[in-house]
């Protein structure tokens, strides 16, 4: 089983404040992992550090290649798609333009066109609204668009930051179903940061729990979900 992502002793800083205190973890190829923890624990910072969007030290390897020293856009081009908190949708552009932007680093025109069609199959509501300005879509639709845009990269690894934020529970269930499908059918390794621990643990195989910048728990998702102590101490339910 190859290591898709290998993180060793990751420390991250916002100015003078240290947010991560030596994270070490790895993601197997094809796995669906969730990173859990309370607000401010450092979950978002972890994803940002992987994409070099925040100052950090430590070793991060993607498919064996070190990521240090690479710019965000170069890391993305290696095959890592990152759906940020707040979705990062290009609100001034149309839905279709957002999808085209997802594939902007690719050169195969035919592949891009067929991928867009595939996205419309995955997410019919996007096809309905494909000429609409993305900013007019609802929260759930924008989240679908953000995931679709990430998929247009044909990524090997997908990072998602709180995809359930601000969405109704039914919408979140649908979204997670789709993420599961992508993970199995398209063989995309996924790392999902979530505050909604319950749903995330149903979806994932692996889980890490992070608290004030340190990993405090790791293991199979089912084990952690069944462990009442862990749930009560770290996940709040």
């Amino acid at each position: 089983m190859t290591m898709m992502l290998n993180v060793k002793d990751l420390r991250a800083y916002y100015g003078q404040v240290q947010a991560l205190h030596g994270l070490t973890f790895s993601l197997n190829e094809g796995s669906l992992t969730t990173l859990l923890g309370a607000n401010g624990a450092g979950k978002t910072t972890t994803l940002r550090a992987i994409c070099n969007m925040v100052r950090s030290t430590g070793a991060i390897e993607f498919e064996g290649a070190p990521l240090s020293g690479r710019s965000t856009e170069n890391i993305v081009r290696l095959g890592i798609a990152h759906v940020p908190q707040g979705r990062g949708t290009f609100t001034a552009m149309t839905v279709e333009e957002n999808l085209q932007l997802g594939a902007i680093s690719r050169r195969d025109k035919a592949g891009i066109v067929s991928d867009i069609e595939r996205m419309y199959d995955h997410f019919p509501v996007l096809k309905e609204r494909h000429t609409q300005q993305a900013g007019t879509l609802s929260g759930g639709e924008q989240q679908m668009l953000a995931v679709a845009r990430a998929l247009m990269l044909r990524p090997r690894l997908m990072l998602l930051d709180e995809p359930s934020f601000g969405l109704a529970p039914l919408v979140v269930r649908d979204l997670f179903k789709i993420l599961g499908k992508i993970n199995r059918d398209d063989r995309v390794t996924i790392l999902v940061v979530e505050q909604n621990a319950q749903l995330a643990l149903e979806l994932a195989d692996q889980a890490y729990v992070i608290e004030t910048g340190r990993i405090v728990m790791s293991g199979g998702a089912k084990d952690i979900a069944n462990n009442e102590d862990v749930r009560k101490s770290y996940l709040g339910y």
Partner: protein, 292 residues
């Protein structure tokens, strides 16, 4: 009535100047999400370069193309050398940078070519256009080139990959990086294109206002105003805005008593601002829907 239509036509021909400049303004705005106050000076300097090349014996169109290439490269160099280091500075500091650039270019041009007015040739000739007394062939040529550039820009932004990438980089740089766009280079490219368009504007304007280091001052302001009126995100709006500004200016000068040459600028600006108060995104600007 005839006076009115004449003033409108005259306004359209002066407006072509502003439309051209406004295109350059919108170009830079599309690339870097704010306005560059030194753009007029860069256009003026480019025009002087073309003039100098012609003084050295080069034919008009050779000088024209060389100047375009030089301006494109120059825009990129200026951005990389002077403004990339300021990218993380507060926006007001960057504006101070534009003002500094303005001062430097204006002063250098004055030293190299001095402040006497020079004649600048036009490839279109200056006979009456289709027999009309109000539009010369040059002005018609100016309108033609401006419209051509407009279509070119529109096509570039709407239908090419590079244009899409540039728009993305300007509107949401972080999201753009997350799809693999090198936002830093997009900015440099935007500057290069804006400099080239500005050069075209300068070379079209110089035959009318005569070549001297201060020639672009007023034109730039009208260009800004036209771009803002048209909606800063719309090249078509910029061009239409330019024509409208020319018309406003002329009508104000003709019909409002006591408004001589000096008050034309403030009155035109006041009119534009009135439009903005009613339509804050400009006439053709796409109001960006933000969900709070």
């Amino acid at each position: 009535m005839e006076l009115f239509t004449n003033q409108i036509l005259a306004g359209i021909s002066t407006g072509a100047i502003y439309a051209c400049m406004a295109l350059a303004v919108v170009m830079i705005y599309q690339a870097i999400d704010h306005l560059n106050f030194a753009q007029g000076e860069m256009a003026m300097f480019s025009t002087f370069i073309s003039w100098q090349l012609m003084q050295w014996g080069m034919p008009y169109w050779v000088a024209f193309v060389l100047t375009l290439a030089f301006s494109f490269a120059g825009g990129i160099v200026i951005e990389r050398a002077l403004f990339k280091p300021l990218a993380k500075a507060p926006i007001l500091t960057q504006v101070a940078g534009f003002i500094a650039l303005f001062s430097i270019i204006n002063s250098c041009a004055g030293l190299i070519w001095d402040f006497t007015i020079k004649q600048y040739p036009t490839p279109f000739g200056s006979s009456p256009f289709l027999g009309s007394q109000l539009i010369s062939t040059h002005q018609a040529g100016m309108i033609g080139v401006t419209v051509l550039m407009l279509f070119g820009l529109f096509f570039f932004f709407q239908y090419t990959r590079m244009g899409l990438a540039m728009r993305a980089a300007a509107s949401l740089p972080e999201s753009a990086r997350l799809v693999g766009i090198n936002t830093s280079w997009m900015i440099a490219l935007g500057w290069g294109m804006a400099a080239a368009i500005g050069a075209v504007a300068g070379m079209l304007i110089a035959p009318v206002v005569f070549l001297e280091p201060n020639m672009m001052g007023g034109v730039l302001i009208y260009g800004f105003a036209a771009a803002v009126l048209g909606g800063l995100t719309s090249p078509l709006g910029a061009v239409i805005g330019g024509f409208l500004v020319g018309i406003f200016e002329n009508l104000a000068g003709t019909y409002i008593p006591g408004v001589g040459n000096e008050l034309k600028l403030p009155i035109a600006l006041a009119l534009i601002i009135t439009v903005l108060v009613v339509k804050p995104a400009g006439l053709f600007g796409r109001p960006i829907v933000k969900r709070v």
